[in-house]
């Protein structure tokens, strides 16, 4: 390298992996702040715990694989996995859920496949799916209720710490409740939409915390798009597919979750801008990204509406991760200088 004479342009590329990943982590901050404000400090603690676990696990595995630990830790990918997982988990989930999910995400979903850039599945969502399948009780009963829904204060720092680290059930009983998606899905068979929406869980538009949280993640996602870290394709096609499905199949709000609830509740915006757009496990061609995003949107609607789970970002993203290499193979753009794009799974020639 020392003997190599470089010609111009001598532009310095600012988009090193570590910088991109740090920007992604920073872009989640508005969402994190909103979640902390509305639902208490549980998410903040989860994010810190998951981030720490992710970095420690990454370092241990890199050490075991005899890789340069410092060099690979500096790319911040483990940190982002931890942060996303911390945001996705229920705010008052016990600490060992966060640790198990993060350790599994880093060790099994990322490093066993070869580390950064080689994982076929989104590590954070693998971790989430693991604990969701394994510990259904803890994963569904620890969603904090915002102070606007409960009409009282959210869990303070000491109560949150007790709930997370000491497993005090009394804290969880006071401050947790069903999420809006869960409530709507299970109660709509008993009540009309108008009756249901007067319940404390919903409390009108922009009054439950969930809408603000999704708007904050939307803002973070737009910031990432402006920084050109993600392209518009996946989020737009995912949200469009979700909207379209819910307008066509779920137009009757006395039977199905309304569109605005689909878009601004649960993990929709976090999923659309931060999870589905993972550069490693997502589709990479422009057309492929549109198909991939639309697939996630459709699956999200299908599982939320007819599946057993109230929210489905993790499963939708993982299912489309399976399809991403196939989609990529069939959506290769035409290379400049070639008359036709080379598509399909044929090798050679």
């Amino acid at each position: 390298m020392a003997l190599l004479t470089l010609s111009s342009p001598h532009a310095h590329g600012p988009n090193a992996t570590s910088r991109i990943m740090l920007t992604v982590a920073l872009a989640t901050l508005p969402g994190l702040a909103v979640m902390t404000w509305f639902f208490g400090p549980g998410t903040l603690i989860n994010v810190i715990l998951a981030g720490l676990t992710a970095v420690v696990c990454e370092a241990l595995v890199l050490k075991a694989r005899k890789y340069p630990v410092g060099f690979f830790l500096k790319d911040n990918t483990a940190l982002v996995t931890g942060v996303l997982l911390g945001l996705a988990l229920p705010p008052l989930a016990p600490w060992w859920i966060t640790v198990i999910a993060t350790a599994f995400a880093i060790i099994f979903a990322k490093q066993i496949y070869g580390g950064m850039g080689n994982n076929p599945f989104n590590p954070a969502m693998i971790g989430y799916a693991l604990v969701l399948v394994s510990f259904p009780v803890q994963m569904t009963t620890n969603w904090a209720v915002s102070f606007q829904m409960s009409g009282s204060e959210v869990a303070g720092l000491t109560d949150t710490l007790r709930a997370i680290f000491a497993g005090s059930a009394d804290v969880a009983d006071v401050y947790t409740g069903a999420t809006p998606l869960d409530d709507y899905k299970h109660l709509i068979s008993k009540e009309t939409s108008d009756e249901l929406l007067t319940r404390a869980t919903f409390n009108g538009w922009l009054n439950g915390g969930w809408e603000w949280m999704n708007l904050a993640f939307l803002a973070g996602g737009v910031f990432l798009m402006l920084k050109r870290i993600i392209t518009w394709h996946i989020p737009v096609s995912m949200l469009a597919a979700l909207t379209l499905c819910s307008l066509v199949f779920g137009w009757d709000h006395d039977l199905y979750t309304p569109t605005w609830l689909h878009l601004f509740s649960g993990a929709t915006m976090l999923g659309a801008f931060f999870i589905a757009t993972d550069p490693v496990s997502a589709s990479t061609t422009p057309k492929g990204k549109l198909i991939y995003g639309a697939g996630i949107g459709i699956l999200l609607f299908v599982i939320r509406t007819w599946g057993a789970y109230p929210d489905a970002v993790a499963f939708a993203v993982l299912l489309m991760n399976f399809a991403a290499p196939f989609i990529d193979a069939y959506t290769q753009p035409r290379t400049y200088g070639h008359s036709k794009a080379r598509r399909g799974l044929k090798t050679g020639k």
């Binding site: 399948v133 394994s134 259904p136």
Partner: protein
């Protein structure tokens, strides 16, 4: 086929050519019923019964059945032994038989058994065939039990639960609770956990093999530092 000594056959079955870890045969029962030690051991013993019986019979008839019809003949033999195993389990360990359910009759489709019949027993005399059957079955059972133990510990925090299904009422209190208050880790109990545990076992085996190879290589070529290369040109006067 060069004849192998009995100890070579044993090593093949137990380690080098282990049906579960190397040949990856019979994965369906392996992954489906290894939720606990007792299930794994029950299925392992049933498989052993069938494998030894089929290897013995196939070896006995090997000079009387033509190549063209050998596979149907093997399948008939294996199916008969599976039926015997099923009836034996119904008679002596009925609860375990009910727990294992469809996976007892499914032993007949276990590729490890047909594989040994076709690859070994039909080409070898009786004694090596029986030894091969026993060793392959032990290798298979050990992996089954290891998987069962891993999944029982990870999934429920206990080990040797419900052993009375297999060993009678005396074994009812063999259960060891490793962690009290353990929240069931459903992933380990469900089939995906079996895949992950299986992968870990294979990784451990490969690790041990690599280590053995490294030691063997180190022993093979003891070149002393400072020793000279052998001269291959020029005259030695």
């Amino acid at each position: 086929m060069a004849t192998k000594s009995l100890s070579e056959i044993s090593l093949d079955g137990l380690w080098k050519n282990n049906p579960a870890l190397v040949q990856l045969l019979g994965l369906c029962p392996l992954l489906a019923v290894t939720g606990s030690v007792v299930n794994a051991l029950g299925l392992g013993l049933a498989t052993m019964m069938v494998l030894v019986g089929s290897n013995l019979s196939v070896s006995l008839i090997r000079n009387h059945v033509s190549d063209a019809v050998r596979l149907p003949a093997f399948v008939m033999i294996i199916a008969s032994f599976v039926t015997v195993a099923e009836l034996v389990m119904q008679a002596f360990t009925y609860e375990l038989y009910e727990v294992l359910g469809i996976f007892i009759p499914l032993i007949v489709t276990n590729c490890a058994i047909l594989g040994r019949a076709d690859a070994f027993a039909c080409k070898n005399p009786v004694l090596p065939s029986v030894v091969d059957g026993v060793m392959m079955a032990i290798g298979f059972t050990v992996v089954l039990v290891a998987l069962g133990a891993m999944r029982e510990i990870l999934g429920q925090g206990v080990i040797f639960g419900n052993m009375d299904l297999l060993f009678g009422p005396a074994a009812a209190d063999w259960k060891i609770t490793l962690f009290s208050n353990y929240p069931d880790f459903l992933f380990a109990i469900l089939p995906p956990g079996a895949f992950v545990c299986m992968g870990l076992l294979i990784a451990v085996k490969n690790l041990i093999d690599a280590d053995i190879k490294k030691r063997a290589d180190a022993r093979k070529a003891p070149v002393e530092t400072g020793s000279k290369r052998v001269r291959v040109t020029g005259k030695i006067s």
